[in-house]
Assembly symmetry: C2
Homo-oligomer: 417 residues x 2
């Protein structure tokens, strides 16, 4: 199967795809309302992670909470009860965020007014966006709708957004790849550990934030938010992965994977040679570590677009460079490294810029080849937070999972038609 | 020898020493003029790294440049020519910085007006200080005396010092151990790589700097200096190591090493059971990597107090956690890890807080036992920058070296008297 799929046209096309992905120059260009990036976005339309859902009946707890919370937050519903009733009655419209080149982390939904961190690929001009990370624990993206959560959202969507956007403009954009490159030398994996990248980001924007013309009280508050959020860089990292992978879409009969994501009901992938088409399978189970008193019984299904990091060869694919992350996702560094190194067997290249010092500065595995996945039976691995099954609780753990093999077999069969 | 030296009293004393060292709670409490910390410091007195020098005739190029530059900088000499003439004539007095609980990095000298980053051990109340890191390349501590170098020094000693000191006061001090602990999870070794610690430090002080009551122009300039100096945290780290090791001095007949340092003419160590006494040997040769067109022939002798980091079990002792550092000092990560792990054979304990995720969160090697060094013949390893042999050039490379075994044998012989 592999010989057939990657020989001739597919092989040259795969090479072209990874070259295009590696040529991306992702720059954080600002914070904009989603409607500016996705003008077609209607009122009461919510973009969610993963492939399209059939409707509200398929939405998991975290997603339901995020939608209801957003309705209340923007005064489209008087309270959560009314919000849930509206959703049940079919008033809200759902759509796949990924298909609009924006990304939802966990249950986080994107609606017209959602402020997005926007990344532009200076090579292709493509844009991608992801919502501002609210911090760990209670957060809208996990379905939390507490007063604290909504108060913080209001702050992020007004004063914080203004000061950070102005700082980004003063710098003419922030070079995302430069930060990711360094963070991979500093124990980050580029997905579930963003401590170094978030700190380097703060170091980069602190000076222009001070020069942005806001009061010292406002500036100090914004810096405090950044300093206390180790995951701030996550949406920037995944939007950057998305623009890079977008550059690789639609190349001949390429079998290279350009997207992986889950909507809580189905896991889906896309491949370059069948741009825009989803190949789906069951939502993978996460094996990991639960916080405090939580256990597997409390876990909701995995949902989120952040597996785009692994699609680019970061996250679990780069865990050989992130020893401090292993215990957080419930494993040992040796095991994490073994699994990460195995990913070179299903990828066609190595990233020229993103490198792992612990592997002698080897480039991260680049270009998941669905033919190699099918041939070896090695499914792409990813790490992810675990959210509670009910709306309103939040993250309760973190772990590893593997993409369902069926997606890759189906993608190859489709190409062969 | 080992059995004799570490048995009975020595063994209990060694345990006591490492317990005291590990109990330190180093807090950065502010920036003060050296005369406030070392009131005995006279005019035209210069404290240098390592054990005491006999006089100017023993001073290496980097140290001579630093002294002459300081004389010009503070207008004690009209120009470098006059400054060198003053020094040759014996007008300046030299002393060991380490003996006053302050530290010189490379040729960096400490005189009455030198602003020091001051660390207090909240367990013992002891203070230690080290001069502000000026950044890589041309710097007074490497003997550079260019107009740029002196202009930057003037800035650091006035506006920058004021704003950072005020920020530290607003925070009631900065917890140094908390930063070192995290940085060791982020690819720093705690000595020659300070990129993570410097970024975390900026993240910690940015908010209070904004609140310190300075103009946004002044604040932005200070943040820019911090953001562009990957070594800013180095003096804070070594002052923190010094207060911790000081707590272990003078315990019975302990054979644990409490200080290592070099003055460019001699390498010296101190052990707990013979507090205040130096045991010296030849300055070790550094094996490493030279920048651009420089080579071994250009290298000056190793000088500096920063090997105090290794004395605490950081630096080369912690290189298993710093894969990105290995090429900088001219080695592979495997080799660096092998050498670092060997250090557990000459140490009596592990640090309870400073841990290496890549070694399964094992504590860093703590308490170099001179008896174990003598018994195994394994000399403590360290990494270090390499400075040019002539005054005024600066750093030309970085590498590894080993402490001379003679120091440890002599220390044991002294204790046995």
């Amino acid at each position: 199967m592999s010989e057939q799929a990657t020989s001739g046209n597919a092989s040259a096309a795969n090479r072209e795809v990874v070259d295009r992905i590696a040529a991306a120059r992702p720059i954080l260009v600002g914070i904009r309302r989603a409607a500016e990036i996705v003008p077609s976005l209607g009122d009461l339309e919510f973009l969610h992670a993963g492939p399209p859902l059939e409707g509200w009946h398929e939405a998991c707890g975290a997603l339901r909470g995020a939608i209801a919370g957003t309705l209340v937050h923007w005064r489209s519903a008087a309270d959560l009860e009314e919000a849930f009733a509206m959703a049940e009655a079919g008033t809200v419209r759902l759509g796949s965020a990924n298909e609009k080149c924006v990304l939802g982390t966990f249950g986080g939904v994107i609606a017209r007014n959602t402020p997005l961190l926007v990344v532009e690929d200076r090579t292709t001009g493509k844009l991608a966006g992801a919502a501002i990370n609210e911090g760990r624990g209670s957060a809208l993206r996990y379905g939390s709708t507490s007063a604290d959560t909504l108060e913080r959202l209001r702050y992020l969507e007004t004063e914080f957004q203004q000061i950070l956007d102005r700082a980004i403009q003063l710098r003419g954009g922030i070079d995302v790849a430069a930060i990711v490159e360094q963070a991979l030398h500093m124990g980050d994996d580029g997905h579930s550990r963003q401590k170094a990248a978030s700190s380097l980001f703060l170091s980069t924007v602190a000076e222009p934030m001070v020069e942005a013309g806001f009061s010292s009280r406002e500036c100090a508050k914004a810096l405090r938010f950044l300093a206390t959020n180790d995951f701030f860089f996550l949406p920037i990292a995944i939007a950057s992965a998305k623009v890079a992978l977008s550059a690789g879409e639609g190349v001949g009969r390429s079998t290279v994977v350009t997207c992986m994501a889950t909507n809580g009901a189905r896991f889906g992938i896309q491949i370059s040679g069948a741009a825009g088409k989803w190949f789906t399978g069951d939502v993978p189970e996460l094996h990991g570590k639960y916080f405090s008193s939580y256990s597997k019984q409390d876990a909701g299904p995995m949902i989120g677009d952040s597996v785009i990091a692994e699609t680019l060869g970061l996250g679990a694919f780069a865990m050989a460079g992130a020893p401090a992350l292993a215990p957080y996702v419930g494993g040992s560094y040796e095991e994490a490294t073994r699994m990460a190194v195995e990913m070179y067997r299903i990828t066609v290249s190595e990233h020229p810029r993103y490198r792992i010092p612990a592997l002698g500065y080897k480039g991260t595995p680049l270009g998941i080849d669905s033919a190699l996945v099918a041939e070896t039976g090695i499914a792409p691995i990813f790490n992810s937070g675990i959210s509670h099954r009910d709306a309103g609780v939040g993250q309760i753990g973190a772990g590893f999972g593997r993409a369902p093999l069926r997606c890759f077999h189906d993608a190859l069969a489709f190409l062969r038609q």
